[in-house]
Symmetry: C2
Subunit: 207 residues, 2 copies
DNA sequence: TAAATAAATGACACCCTTGTCATATAGTCT
DNA sequence: AGACTATATGACAAGGGTGTCATTTATTTA
């Protein structure tokens, strides 16, 4: 909730502030991010910043909100495509989509990573607030569970959570690794193990 | 590498400093940990601290080294026990051992968690240095791979890494969760999925 | 154009942290 | 005791960060 004054700002200036903030929140965790850096980057005076935002939290929440809008589009692009496909198919495509997107939006992804690394009260609360409604992914998982493709003894939410948790170190490695090809190979291995572990038990194994 | 002066200190004082440092490094990440807090806690004057350690890095490395000594004992206790047992058995026991130890050594575990959360250059380098020789776990995994109990298309090191990565969010949740029983249930699910994903393909499924 | 409202600005006070260093104190050896 | 070495200590400078506010500058309205 930035101030009215901020909203009335020329788009160019708003954009400059937005980008400076994104860069800073991608650079380090919320607690370490510095307003000083942001205003220097955005080239606005200290006083102006406080005319636009109540403080760092306020700015952060605004940034997150803006990013979510964009992200939602990308995210829906592959989950919406064809809900008749199974979870493993969709995930396979999603992984590619996500890593392709990651290449183009390093900063946005880093912010997500920083959130995962951050265990402050503020961040826990923020994550809780952001956790939107039941995602399309859940529906797909549940469908596959009904069809007997995915084991039914684990809740769909839990499965999604596992995938998220497993993804964070992978994305992190992907970014920090000099050898991104090796990182992708590792991702494939991770998910192969995960997918096999998630498959419903097959009574009679056929190959 | 603390100074000679530090080593010559009475055990009680050394211990006080050690414990204050452990508490601080458990409280937050390395970059956020404050020498000020540590000397206040340990009740030593600022000047003394710099008479004992070159700085925060120096202290941190010392703390890590001391903890490793203790941890190695615990870790070996279950891996050394009976190397004829398979990986899944050993891990099952290890999980219990680790979480039991976690209850008694919250601070030590938190430090490990903080390391995992920390992606500074210093920490990357530190982790690299600490990564000891081939662990006994690797040997057990490799044995099971030879026996055909664990899939052979994934390197033992990679398997261990996956387990570590999967463990961090679990331990974190375990600590932050009010409901530790639920946390343990989740751990069981995670590892059940993981273990099944790691099993060698069975040509003919028997139940 | 004068008055009133909105925005911009940067100096300032305050807080926290780090590393140093001159000085004081304790301990040891002859 | 006198001399010399080892420790202890806290004031201090320097650096970074935050939020405020009196003042200046623009913009709008009458």
């Amino acid at each position: 909730m930035p101030t009215e004054t901020f909203h009335r700002l020329p788009a160019e200036k708003k954009q400059r502030i937005f980008q400076a903030a994104v860069r800073e929140f991608a650079r380090c965790r919320f607690s370490e991010a510095s307003i000083n850096q942001i205003i220097k980057q955005a080239d606005i005076p200290r006083g102006s910043f406080y005319q636009y935002f109540a403080g760092k939290e306020d700015l952060y929440l605004y940034i997150l909100q803006e990013i979510s809008k964009e992200k939602l589009d990308v995210y829906n692009r592959f989950t919406v495509a064809d809900s008749s496909r199974g979870f493993f198919d969709v995930m396979e495509e999603a992984i590619h989509a996500i890593f392709a997107w990651a290449d183009d939006n390093e900063d946005y992804n880093m912010i997500g990573l920083r959130m995962a690394q951050d265990d402050s009260d503020f961040m826990r609360e923020t994550i809780r607030k952001m956790a939107g409604s039941k995602s399309r992914m859940i529906t797909i998982i549940e469908q596959d569970q009904k069809k007997g493709k995915i084991r039914q003894d684990v809740e769909a939410e839990a499965i999604l959570e596992i995938i998220q948790n497993i993804s964070y170190p992978l994305i992190q490695e992907y970014y920090s690794s000099k050898n991104q090809k090796a990182a992708i190979d590792k991702i494939k291995i991770y998910f192969d193990i995960l997918f096999r572990g998630l498959q419903a038990k097959q009574e009679a194994g056929g190959h």
